[in-house]
């Protein structure tokens, strides 16, 4: 089950529609390499204890979705605590919409050597 912020439910629906042959209820489980192609959305994969891409630049208003592809749970936590995902088990995702301009470093609170950066610039 994908865990989303209220503001990003529309994104989740977009994914469900964009996953042919998968019932909407379980579409989140299949999730979202397709997401990166969506307008205003960017996908970050978590594979092999690594956020990929690790360092990305997006425009304000962009929604970033992290999806855990590992057999081990991870989290996505902003170093300044401006966002924090619940624990993400295998194939679970978390989305956050970046409205403020700035550089947001984040990490996995279970495996703090896992770090990433989202740079938000004016649109």
């Amino acid at each position: 089950m994908i865990k989303v912020c209220p503001a990003t439910i529309a994104v989740a629906i977009l994914v469900a529609v964009g996953a042919p042959g998968v019932a909407p209820a379980s579409a989140a489980d299949a999730l979202p390499t397709a997401l990166s192609a969506g307008i205003g959305t960017v996908a970050v994969r978590i594979d092999n204890f690594t956020f990929t891409p690790t360092d990305i630049t997006v425009t304000a208003g962009t929604t970033v979705t992290w999806t855990n592809g590992d057999d081990i749970p991870h989290t996505v936590v902003a170093s300044d605590r401006s966002f924090r995902s619940p624990v993400l088990d295998t194939d679970e995702g978390f989305s956050f919409t970046f409205t403020a301009i700035g550089t947001f470093e984040y990490f996995c609170s279970l495996h703090p050597h896992m770090v990433g950066i989202i740079r938000v610039v004016a649109s």
């Binding site: 749970p73 624990v87 990490f107 495996h111 703090p112």
Partner: protein
């Protein structure tokens, strides 16, 4: 039966490389510790089962079990509950009953109530007092550890640290999985280290000390976060003691190192093995072929050959 010709060669850092490789075969049960002369030695559980009960005075023994990950159901172990139950069955069959069991964390996989409940139900069958410290997988509830503390934290301080004495040995349970910093390792924090200093202050240096915590207190692999940022500070307070044993989990494999009077040891998981640092792109579960799992679980064992040098752990299959 001893296999001295199987003794591992120690590298300069005292770590048995051969042991590393053999450990990849994964025993996944538990380690029985026996304290004689202040220096604990350990036996693989399976080997301990096979050993004759000593005829002399019964040694003081306790058992370490780790990383049960109840709730884990992915390759290479579709049922971590079953393997925990198996480990418990082996403990029950020991000829010498340990005095108590230390669980070095990751009791559950996702801190779910059902996972803790299942773990408790199985571990209760051991019929021995249990001492716990949390792993990072035990603090994933919404309250970030409230659930763990409610279940296991009775009489502990802070995030769940405490100490107790048994047969002249001072045991210290530490928590190094809370409030981890980006880019970092495990972390004890200033409060806990200050408490440790006070806790040890009144003890004579001849007191054997056993410290247990989830993440290794020594740096096993910084690139995988396998170490404790302020572990050296804690160890600084232990320097004056003649015998210090540090028991950890988290890395799901046996590693051992001796530094001065301090013996470091990590235990296997009862759920799934993790790779040796440098042999895999990530510390994710080591996937063994499906047909190999039960065989590896059931037959892999740990021998500790202790002499006047550093303790060394050798892992060998029971058959084949």
């Amino acid at each position: 039966m001893r296999h001295h010709d199987d003794d591992p060669k120690l590298d300069a850092d005292g770590i048995a490389r051969r042991g590393f490789l053999e450990c990849m075969a994964w025993a996944g049960t538990g380690v029985l510790w026996s304290i004689g002369g202040g220096l604990p030695s350990s036996l693989g559980l399976t080997r301990a089962l096979a050993a004759e009960a000593p005829t002399g005075a019964a040694p003081f023994t306790f058992l370490q079990i780790s990383d049960s990950h109840v709730g884990f159901d992915k390759p290479a172990n579709p049922d971590a509950t079953a393997t925990l139950r198996e480990a418990v069955g082996r403990i029950a069959g020991l000829p010498v009953k340990p005095s108590f069991v230390i669980h070095t964390g990751d009791i559950s996989h996702l801190s779910k109530d059902k996972e803790f409940d299942d773990a408790d139900q199985i571990l209760r069958e051991v019929g021995l007092p249990m001492f716990f410290v949390p792993g990072e997988h035990d603090l994933l509830d919404e309250g970030r550890g409230k659930s763990y503390l409610a279940r296991y934290g009775k009489g502990s301080r802070g995030a769940g640290w405490y100490s107790f004495d048994q047969n002249g040995v001072h045991f210290v349970g530490l928590v190094n999985v809370v409030d981890l910093k980006a880019g970092g390792l495990g972390n004890l924090g200033a409060d806990q280290i200050a408490w440790l200093e006070r806790d040890l202050a009144g003890l004579p240096s001849s007191t054997p000390i056993v410290v247990f915590a989830h993440i290794p207190l020594w740096t096993v692999a910084a690139e995988w976060g396998w170490g404790t940022a302020d572990g050296a500070q804690a160890l600084g307070h232990l320097k004056r003691f003649g015998s210090v044993t540090v028991l950890n989990g988290h890395i799901h494999q046996v590693m051992q190192k001796i530094e001065g009077n301090v013996t470091f040891h990590t235990a296997r998981s009862t759920a799934f093995p993790q790779p040796v640092p440098g042999t895999a792109p990530s510390p994710g579960p080591l996937k063994v072929p499906a047909g190999e799992l039960r065989k590896l679980l059931g037959i892999a064992t740990v021998d500790v050959v202790s002499g006047d040098g550093p303790l060394a752990i050798v892992d060998r299959p029971l058959a084949g």
